[in-house]
Point group: C2
Chain length 116, copies 2
């Protein structure tokens, strides 16, 4: 059950949608329902152009979908499978969160005192 290298690259690429704090913030913010670019921008405290850029990336990857309503573009999580991935991510974080916060790779050490 060891996959061909090409599929591994695709799968790794898919996971990159979740592996950046900004893109993950966007996905997490959509768990509670569809939102516009400006709403997400305000919620996660990132610039409108940054949010738009990441949403474009997530849409290209099929992780989110969009629906235009007048000037506003409403984004939402593309499927229940993506929701499930986020859920399982929470379960793993419950198990290993205390270890990950000590890891100094990827944007340095994350403060353990704020871990739930």
């Amino acid at each position: 059950m060891y996959d061909a290298p090409v599929n591994l690259e695709l799968k790794a690429k898919m996971f990159r949608g979740f592996a950046d704090p900004t893109r993950l913030s966007i996905l997490e913010s959509l768990r509670s329902g569809e939102k516009t670019v400006n709403a997400i921008s305000d919620l996660i405290d990132q610039s409108q152009s940054n949010v738009s850029n990441h949403l474009s990336c997530l849409k290209e990857c099929g992780l989110v979908v969009s629906r235009r309503e007048g000037k506003n573009m409403h984004y939402s999580i593309a499927s229940t499978r993506v929701q499930r991935l986020l859920n399982v991510g929470d379960l793993i974080l419950d198990e290993v969160g205390d270890r990950i916060c000590r890891c100094v790779r990827y944007n340095g050490q994350t403060s353990p005192t704020d871990f739930k």
Copy 2:
């Protein structure tokens, strides 16, 4: 249910374990059971030091565990939740693999002809 920023950084960090082709290859190779560094190195066609480096990272994050037996260190997937994440990843890839392969971010475009 929008998480605090610190937890988002932790969760994103956790997903980085899956988001690099080499680390994902290592995790995928362990789905079928525990393996040594050299066995993984041969299987995924990466240098021993590279594999060792990535295994160290995955172990620090709690995604894999190790068991020494003489000279050999045997690595395995840390929990069934990690297995589940890989499974859900497969399901999402089934849905969106054709879109991800067209995405030119992250190591350029991945050939669509090899997509299952």
